[in-house]
């Protein structure tokens, strides 16, 4: 899932300082699950911002709401009034949610309350680690199920580099060396032959390097005939 974390409140407060009326919108999907932008966080954020305003003697109004999935227009419509009724909307969803609101109401200001970080896995409660970078061309069937692009600091295809000490990454000694892990995994699977040959250069065109990506499922798209109202005309 998408893992995000709340921006420092100092940064959020600074962003919102010029505005009188702030609507905070959270999301019940990924960011709720990663404890960053669910109803609880929204409520606590609103409360903390109110306290700050009170402390500094400023008149600012904060209201919090939560939608099911902020990255989908239909859900955002539920809070449309609250959004448009404010001077600025603080999105407590991942950047996808913030951009959805922004795209829907282009004249309205929508600011991010979270830093969207990683495609992560909860290793344990409260710990998420990156395991995918969305390169668009998965190869983990050849690397023992471990992604070297996401889990190696240098995204090496022929690792590990010379900095792998005690099976840890030179960049962060708390992080396992992805290639040591790949080696170990393939060894127990008796498939070391997979990495004995040189893995050639990766085709990055399927990743963000190939430009902004759009995935289309033609059979799922509605034809102009199926669309309603203005959309159909377009």
């Amino acid at each position: 899932m998408i893992v995000a974390k709340r921006k420092p409140l100092t940064e959020i407060a600074e962003m919102l300082a010029p505005y009188k009326k702030v609507t905070v919108v959270g999301c019940r999907s990924c960011v709720a699950i990663c404890l960053a932008g669910g109803e609880k966080e929204v409520k606590m954020l609103v409360s903390a911002l109110k306290l700050k305003a009170k402390k500094e003697g400023r008149k600012q109004q904060f209201d919090g709401f939560v939608v099911e999935r902020q990255c989908e227009k239909e859900w955002v419509t539920e809070v449309e009034e609250k959004v448009l009724d404010s001077d600025v909307t603080l999105s407590m969803a991942c950047s996808l949610g913030a951009q959805t609101i922004g795209d829907m109401y282009p004249k309205h200001l929508t600011f991010p309350g979270l830093n969207t970080g990683i495609f992560g896995v909860p290793e344990e409660q409260g710990v998420w680690s990156e395991k995918c970078v969305g390169c668009g061309n998965c190869i983990i069937h050849t690397t023992g199920g471990i992604c070297p692009i996401a889990r190696c600091a240098k995204s090496m295809l022929n690792g590990p580099c010379g900095g792998s000490a005690n099976r840890k990454c030179e960049v962060n000694l708390d992080v396992d060396c992805a290639w040591a892990a790949i080696y170990d995994r393939l060894k127990i699977q008796n498939r070391l032959d997979l990495i004995e040959q040189v893995t050639p250069a990766k085709d990055w065109s399927t990743s963000h390097a190939g430009g902004r990506r759009t995935y289309v499922r033609e059979d799922a798209r509605l034809t102009p005939h199926q669309k309603k109202g203005k959309e159909a005309v377009q």
């Binding site: 420092p8 409140l9 109110k50 306290l51 009170k54 003697g57």
Partner: protein, 138 residues
């Protein structure tokens, strides 16, 4: 001019926490009358929102009183309570509010001095810091 009395709210678990409160009273301990307790079954029930809301509603200081961590009636409840308090402390310091205004205390039910001591500490903090944002002074 009458000295302004501090406003303190304590969320107290109904197990060791409340037992310690009762024992302190029964052993004749006296403490500042500025403290108002809200009983919860376990400090693990305390939500950061409760603490923040109490500050919004005018508390100068808020504390949470629970069982000792190794002897919590609900096994791990007071550990949860401590973590919640820690998170709110972090949030408060990010918005420029003194994190000393909130605190977690633990007590055994046989511990008569723990509660008065906690109150003493919180009263000191509340008197030193006063109401958030100045507020109405009496």
């Amino acid at each position: 001019m009458v000295e302004r009395k501090p406003k303190i709210v304590g969320f107290c678990c109904e197990r060791h926490g409340m037992d310690a409160v009762v024992l302190s009273a029964r052993t004749g301990k006296q403490y500042d009358a500025s403290v108002r307790l809200v009983q919860v079954p376990c400090t693990g029930r305390v939500d950061g929102i409760h603490i923040l809301q109490a500050l919004e509603d005018g508390a100068d200081a808020v504390f949470v009183l629970g069982c000792l961590e190794k002897n919590c009636y609900y096994d791990t409840g007071s550990i949860e309570g401590r973590k919640r308090v820690g998170y709110v402390k972090q949030m408060l310091s990010e918005v420029g509010i003194e994190k000393e205004r909130i605190e977690m205390f633990n007590a055994a039910s046989s511990n008569a001095w723990a509660f008065p001591e906690a109150v003493g500490k919180m009263v000191e903090v509340a008197k030193k810091l006063g109401p958030i944002g100045g507020g109405e002074r009496q």
